[in-house]
Structures are given as C-alpha cells and as structure tokens.
C-alpha cells in the first residue's frame, strides 16, 4: 500500500463535473474559502464548448508558497461525473485521494489500490433532505462542499460567511445553503477522518486580487482611454468586451448628464468590428476589438489597411486552440505568427505578450498609447488560460501623473504656423509621420486616405521608387517600435550557466515553479520572458550569450521560435523547442522535465508527458 499523501497548504484538487449542473458556484466558494484563509490558490476551469451536459473540470492548485501555474498531477479528485470516471481516476497521484458519491455501489475494479477512496452518499443525503428536483440538483453541490470543508480542514465559518455574501441579494436562500453545508459537514465528521491534505490559516495572500485577464484587459482599455469598442461574440474573448462594458457603466458616464463617454457596438461579424475600429481610429478616437484566432483570420484585409494607411487600432486576441474552429474552449499560444505577419503583402505588427491579468491591465492600457504613437495596429495577445481563469495577482495600479500619449497629431495651430504637412513624410527620422484628424482646419491639412500606394504627401502614385521609399519608412517605424514596447524580463540563474530559456504569456507562472524546482536540483538556467514583438535587441544578446536556449511555447509549430529565427537571423540549432499544445495549460512538471532532459539530467525528466 502506497503511503497516503500528506501535505499542508500544498496540493492539487480537481473537480470533475457535468456542465450545467450548478457546480461552478460551489467550486468557486471552495476556492474563495481557501483564499480567505490566507492561502494562495490558482484555479483553472476546463470546460467544453457547450451549455449543458458535457464534462467540465475545475482544477485548483493550493500553494502556500505561491506557485500559481499548473503543477501537474492531481492529489484529490472530486469525481462527480460518471462519464469521465476512468480517466479521472487515472489522473490521481499514487497515494492520492478519490472523493465520490457512494450512494450507488461500485464494483471494486472501478477503484485503484494505491489511493485512498473517500465515499460520501451525497445523493442519499440530498434526497433524504429535499423533495424538489431543483433543490436536489443545486444543493448536492453544497453538500459536497460541506464534506470537503471537514475533510480538508477548511474553516467552516469562512464558508458560511461566503455563502451569506454570495446570496446577499436573495437572503431567503442563505439558511437553505448553510443547512446543506451542515448536512455534508456533519455526515463527514461522523463517518470519516480528515484527509492527509490539510489547509491551515496563513498570511500569504496579502492584498492581492483574484481576477481574470479578460476583465483586467477590459478595465485596461477603460484606463487607456478607449472610447469605441466594436466586437463580435467569440469564445474565449467575449468576457473581455463584457468587462469593458461593465467598467464603462461604472466609470465612464458624465456625472451630470448621465451620458456615455464611450460607444460600444456589437457588430454583425469580425470584419465589421475591425472596420468600425479602423474608422474610429482614423477619426482620432481610441478604438479596439477583441476576438480570437478565427476572428483575426477574418480581419486580415483591414489589418493590412491599418498597417499601410497607418491607422491606430488595437486588437485583443484571446487565443484558443486552432486551426479552424479547433478547440474553442481550450488554451493555446497559436496565433503568434498569424498576428505578427497578418494580411497580404509585406506586413509586420506589434504584439504585446502579457503574462497574466496584471499585465492584461497594464498592456491593455498601454496598447492605445502605442497605437497612437506608432499609428498602426497593436495586438495584445492573451490566451484562454489567463483570459477566462481568475488568477491571484498584485492589485492594479495607475500613475495619475501620466497623461495619455496621443502621438503625432498636427493641429490647426501648427498648420497656421506654416508646418509642411505631408501625411506620410518622415520628418523626425523615426519613420513616424504626422497625421491630421478630419475637420482640423478649414483649408489646410486635408488628405485622402487609401490602401493604395502614395507619396509622402498622400498623393496617389504607382511609381516603384515612391512605393519602396514608403515601405522602407514603415520598416524604420517598426524599428522605432522596438524601443517603445515593453522590454523583456530577465531572471538570472544563481550560478553562471550556458543554458537559457525564453518564454512568454501564460507560461509564466508554471515557469516560475519549474525554475525553482530545477535550481533545487542544481540545474541552472538564465530565463528571459519576452513581452513584445518586435523584439528589443537584448533578446538577441541573450541568445548570443548562451550556448543553448530553450523556447517554451504552447503551440505545435514553435511560433515564437520561428519569429526569433526569422527576425534575428538566429541559428535554429541553438533554439530548442519545448512545446505543450494539447489545449491544457502548461504545467511546471512538464517544463521541468523537458528542460532537465535537454540539459542531460534524465532523472528530472520523468514527467515528459504533456500537461498531466
């Protein structure tokens, strides 16, 4: 018999549910209870593209040390879905625990010998207490929450306080929920012993907030001064628009008239969404759309127009599994190349690569300054993992002394003072021309915007030399972008090493844990988190200073690695692919195993299988 796992404030719980069963609210309470006990938690929803009846999972990483990525493996499985029983059972670590509804007897071969099986007759308890089917369905979830509260040592009064908050608007439901909680708690305390996995009050959460990246990015757009949002519903980006709508309602109405200082249009499709954004950007309003890979595919022509006609615009791409409809509710980083080189002809676009909700807010605001400054399309590349899951992050901050950067906009005063206005003229050597907004001046500064070739004064021209001049200027502008985008973040190893690792986006929290685990084994790597494209020079310096650099990504084709090779002329042999792309967020164990293997330390490489 394997020894049962024993741990305090450091384990993984996974709930296997059926979607539409009302489990999300009980699972949310479970997570918030742990947070209220001062213990950091990372929670990830793994859900189908469906409203009712299909399997859904909720994976919770409890980490007193504060590791916020997926660790890999499951210590306690709460198996509430018979459809996925076998698979769920298989995921439990040796020595782990299985919590299940024991109302109906199960044959012994349905269990494993190396785990602790904890049966609670949830259906029987529930049916004995409630007659109405609707109550039975919903309160069964609260009953298992009650049992887990006992088994894991969650403070009962914390859960009760949260239930009261949850139903503050429907107070009649509070006693019923507290009663259901007691039913589960009491049955467990009378019939079972607490598990080896225990929670203990700590003070490790601090003032951190629990928020998803889509909400954070929507709030960032409010702070970044976005006034026009045009969007089309698509998973996993929909909640970004909804976040913007909610925060606009709270923060963006004229206090005297109640009128809106924003305009939001749910467009007929993604093409119209980006068209509205480009029209608003042309006319001087800060505008954005939010979408996912299929939407970016539809927007290609307008993205090229934004690049060539130099119109500020922002796209939040919340990436999901592709290609085609792919895996709409699973996460990937697989739009990097299609965003970086979007549209026909020679194009390149600025990408911002936030690591989680904190940077979703920060970059979500900064994207609009960059769009105005560079007069071009800015992509903010989220993914489903950071976009739709609530992460525990530092509170948002804002510097009130900072003003919005509107870029080079020529005013009527400048025109009257005799400024030589050439819409596409490089006056400062940075590749960025001045623009005028419609109606700036009665007789000066008007020009005709077009997607066809033109000279520096915006006059139509098909002359080869004129075209080439303009295209070269656009490259200069892209070079200027290098110094304006967020710089990479370097975590040097404790000891000098010839190994480096490059990563980005939602891989960040799992990488933090993997690096610590590797260091504990004496494996040292310098780590660089890339935060934007075009790559600042230090990215290539970093590569040059290491013999071997791992590039960790969540896509099949090593897309960021391709960009590094293509843009920096890097020898491909020096960039080692480390790829997780099965749709589940990358785990610390996977990264640790792959990097250890790559560094020749095979003993660490025992968890090479993806995303377990």
């Amino acid at each position: 018999m394997t020894r049962p796992l024993a741990a305090i404030n450091d384990f993984v719980v996974k709930f296997a549910n059926v979607n539409g069963s009302g489990s999300a609210s009980a699972n949310g309470l479970f997570v918030k209870s742990i947070l209220r006990m001062g213990v950091p938690v990372a929670a990830r929803n793994i859900f189908p593209s469906n409203i009712q009846g299909l399997p859904t999972w909720y994976e919770i990483r409890v980490s007193g040390q504060g590791w916020m990525g997926r660790r890999g493996g499951v210590d306690l499985m709460v198996a509430m879905n018979p459809q996925t029983w076998d698979r769920d059972l298989g995921e439990i670590e040796a020595g782990g625990y299985l919590f299940y509804d024991s109302t109906k007897p199960m044959p012994p071969e349905k269990f494993r010998a190396d785990i602790t099986v904890v049966g609670v007759p949830l259906t029987r308890i529930c049916n004995a207490a409630y007659a109405e089917p609707s109550k039975r369905k919903v309160l069964k979830n609260i009953i298992y929450l009650g049992a887990l509260t006992f088994l894991l040592g969650i403070e009962r009064d914390v859960v009760e306080a949260l239930l009261a908050e949850e139903y503050a608007s429907k107070p009649a439901l509070i006693p019923a929920n507290i009663e259901a909680l007691s039913l589960g708690f009491n049955w467990a305390s009378e019939n079972l012993k607490p598990l080896g996995l225990q929670l203990k009050r700590a003070d490790a959460v601090g003032d951190r907030i629990f928020v998803d990246g889509n909400t954070a990015a929507g709030l960032g757009a409010v702070y970044g001064g976005a006034t026009v949002c045009a969007w089309y519903p698509i998973t996993p980006s929909t909640s970004l628009a909804e976040g913007f709508i909610d925060y606009c309602k709270k923060l963006r109405h004229d206090p005297e008239t109640g009128e809106a200082r924003y305009a939001i249009v749910q467009a007929e499709d993604e093409i119209a969404s980006i068209g509205i954004v480009v029209g608003a950007g042309w006319n001087g309003a800060r505008a954005f759309t939010c979408t996912s890979g299929p939407g970016v595919s539809l927007m290609q022509e307008f993205i090229g127009l934004s690049y060539f006609a130099e119109i500020p615009a922002v796209i939040f791409d919340v990436q999901r599994g592709g290609p085609s409809t792919g895996m709409p509710t699973r996460t990937q980083q697989s739009d990097i190349l299609s965003a970086a080189y979007a549209s026909h002809g020679d194009t390149k676009h600025v990408l911002l690569l936030p690591e989680g909700p904190g940077e979703c807010f920060e970059f979500g605001a900064q994207a609009f300054d960059l769009a105005d400054r560079l007069q071009t399309m800015i992509f903010v590349m989220l993914d489903l993992d950071m976009g739709m899951n609530e992460w525990l992050v530092d509170p948002f901050t804002w510097d009130d002394s900072k003003s919005l950067d509107r870029g080079k906009v020529m005013t009527a005063e400048m025109l009257d003072a005799g400024a030589d206005f050439g819409r596409y003229k490089d006056v400062d050597g940075d590749g960025i021309p001045f623009r005028t907004l419609p109606a700036t001046h009665p007789s000066k500064g008007a020009y005709f915007t077009r997607g066809t070739s033109r000279d520096p004064y915006a006059r139509y021209s098909e002359e080869g030399a004129v075209y080439v001049d303009n295209m070269e200027r656009l490259l200069r502008k892209f070079d200027t972008a290098r110094s304006l985008v967020p710089a990479p973040v370097v975590k040097p190893a404790k000891k000098k090493t010839s190994y480096g690792v490059i990563y980005y986006g939602s891989t960040s929290p799992a990488m933090d844990e993997a690096l610590a685990a590797l260091e504990a084994k004496g494996l040292h790597l310098d780590a660089m988190r890339v935060r934007a494209f075009p790559f600042p020079g230090e990215v290539f310096d970093f590569i040059a200073h290491h013999e071997l650099v791992f590039v960790v990504e969540q896509n099949r084709d090593a897309q960021l690695r391709t960009l590094l090779i293509n843009e920096g002329g890097v020898d491909p042999a020096r960039l080692v692919k480390v790829l997780n792309y099965d749709g589940s967020p990358i785990t610390a164990r996977f990264i640790g195993g792959e990097l250890a293997r790559g560094m020749g330390a095979a003993d660490m490489a025992n968890t090479g299988e993806m995303a377990k």
């Binding site: 006034t227 200082r261 068209g275 608003a280 505008a287």
Partner: protein, 351 residues
C-alpha cells in the same frame, strides 16, 4: 485615382454662397473616369448640393469602398478628409468614424458591386443601426474596373455587352433600405440633375441613415441595347413620384415645377423639404405604403424615382447609445481615465 490637381483660379463673377465659397471650392481633383460616365455627373451634383447648403467643406468626411464609384470622392470636396477603404466595407469604417466624432457630416459613396455584392451585409447593418450619414450608391449594374461582369443589381434578363443574359434576380437597394429601417430613402438618375441635387441636399441635412440609389449608366460596359441600366432604358422607364426642394430656413430656392400638391416636411436641423407630388397617390412619409408602391411599379418595369421615404423625426445610433454631445475624439484624459482612486475601489471588489 488621380494626382492631377485642378487649377484654383475661376471666373470673377462666379456666384458665392453664404460662406463666401464658390462652387469651385467644393471641387476635387480631375476625374480619371471614362468620358461621359454617369458617376462624374453625381460628383458634380454633390459639389452643387454642398455649395447650395453652405457646407463648410472641411466639416464633411467622405468615405468609399473600392470600385469606379469609390474612386470619385477624390474628384469632389478637395478640402475634406477622405478615406478610400476596402471593398464592401465602407459602412463599418463610416460607422466607426461617426462614433468618433458625431459633429461632422458623413458621406459614403459606393457602387452596386461594393454595396450589393461583397458589401451587402455591411450595407444592411449600417442601415439598421441608423448611422447618421448620407449613403449614395452609384448604380450601374456592372463591374467597370474589371471590365463588364454583372453586379448583383443587374436585372434578371438584362443582357451584358458580350451578349450574356443575366439569370439571377437583381437586388433592389431601395427596397432593402426601406425594409432595413433607413430613415431617408431616395432614388434618382445621374442624368437628372434637377432631381438629384435637391435629394442630396435633403439627405445631407437629414439626421439618420439616408440612402440614395442613383442609376448611373456605365458608358463603357453597360450602355447597350438589352441592358436595363443604359441611359436610354433609364430615361424611358423613369417615373418620378415627386419633385423636391430644400429650404434651409432662408429664402426658398425657386425652381421650375410642374403644378401639383405641395407637402412640407420639417427636418431636425430646421430645414424644410418641399415635396411636389407627381404621383398623386404617393405618400413619402408612409414606409409600408412606399414599399408596396415600389413593388407594384417595379413589377410593371417602372423605375420609380424621387424622395421615396423620409422620417423627419428619426433617431440615430448616438441617440441609441446615449453618447455625450462632445465628440469622443475630443474627450480629455480626465474625462477618459478614472484615475488611481477609482482603481483602489475596483481592487477592493476583486478580493
């Protein structure tokens, strides 16, 4: 597209409007369209209409898609900002521009390929949203720049220059606009300036989605016998339901009208549309009857023109969104960014 700028000098006796502009101040670059193209007549009508309503040229933004018609914004209103967008997508770009600054006048110019084929979806949605704009389709039933393919407005049975008979039903943009909720719908003919200029004036002063379908024969590819978009065919089948005059709150423009019943329609901006009925049973303020009338006449081969429908009390997209009066593109940092104090409260709600 042209880079040929017209010389600025003009005859000293050229008439000035209330702002002191002459008609020449509303012109653009030299047209590169075929000699005799209907589109050039429409450009001239736009110039004339803007001159007559005393529009400050820079207060108008002109947008278009792709095609012969979409090239024309370069040929009028040279002092206005223009935007030649992508094929079939002018409506969305115009919508965004309008959202950014509600104070300007927005003129969208498109063609039948641009609006009825590739852009039919965007055409529909811009109408149903009630974007405050004037949307002109220069309708010739044919793709000119690619040399003579049928467009989606070509009538069933119409013959191409190469002798091919169109087997698809033609899309009636006017019928669509009426059904989709446009609050101003007109149809005219590029060869009838007396009818077209007042229609454009009324559309530009109308608040809401104003649509004008202008039959504009393609001299190069669709002006032959067997075409239902040729000069001869349109002249023979043109049946005006009314004649329009637009008063701007000053002395009415006198015009040469046939006698008939006079209807006055007051618009939001104080302008008055004076409609002289030609078809005595036609009521341009009744959407349902207008739709029925147009269907009936279409069935017997008539091309019904004039101001076909107007709702002088229409709301626009900004009304629906309850946006502030100040253009969104002029809001200050303080009006846009809630600041750190508000963020403290946001953080508190996320714990």
């Amino acid at each position: 597209m042209t880079y040929i700028t017209k010389p600025q000098f003009h005859h000293p006796s050229l008439k000035e409007n209330a702002l002191g502009f002459t008609r020449r101040d509303y012109e653009g670059k030299v047209s590169t369209l075929c000699a005799g193209c209907g589109h050039d007549s429409i450009s001239a009508a736009i110039v004339q209409a803007c001159f007559e309503i005393d529009l400050e040229p820079h207060r108008l933004a002109k947008l278009s898609g792709i095609g012969c018609s979409s090239k024309t914004p370069d040929y009028f209103l040279g002092a206005s900002h223009g935007f030649n967008t992508v094929h079939g997508r002018m409506p969305s770009v115009l919508t965004g521009a309008n959202l950014a600054n509600r104070e300007l006048i927005y003129l969208g110019v498109s063609g039948d390929g641009d609006s009825a084929s590739i852009g039919l979806g965007q055409f529909a949605h811009v109408m149903r949203r009630g974007v405050n704009m004037t949307y002109i389709v220069e309708n010739n039933g044919v793709y000119g720049l690619t040399k003579g393919q049928f467009s989606a407005t070509a009538d069933k049975g119409s013959k191409s220059k190469k002798g091919v008979v169109n087997s698809d039903s033609g899309i009636d943009m006017v019928a669509l606009a009426l059904q989709l909720g446009a609050s101003f719908v007109g149809r005219s003919f590029s060869g009838d300036k007396d009818q077209l200029v007042p229609l454009i004036k009324a559309a530009l002063t109308h608040k809401g989605a104003a649509f004008i379908d202008v039959l504009s024969p393609c001299i190069a590819f669709n002006n032959h016998a067997g075409s239902t978009k040729s000069f001869d065919w349109v002249r023979e089948h043109n049946e005006a339901v009314n004649r329009l005059d637009v008063m701007l709150g000053r002395a009415p423009v006198t015009a040469d009208y046939a006698p008939g019943e006079l209807v006055e329609v007051a618009q939001h901006d104080g302008s008055i549309l004076m409609l002289r009925k030609v078809a005595t049973d036609y009521d341009a303020t009744d959407r349902v009857k207008a739709m029925a009338y147009l269907q009936e006449r279409n069935a017997v081969g008539e091309i019904v023109t004039g101001l076909l429908y107007v709702d002088p009390e229409a709301d626009d997209l900004h009304d629906a969104l309850n946006t502030v009066a100040k253009p969104l593109n002029r809001l200050s940092d303080a009006e846009l960014t809630p600041g750190s104090a508000a963020l403290v409260k946001v953080n508190a709600r996320l714990r």
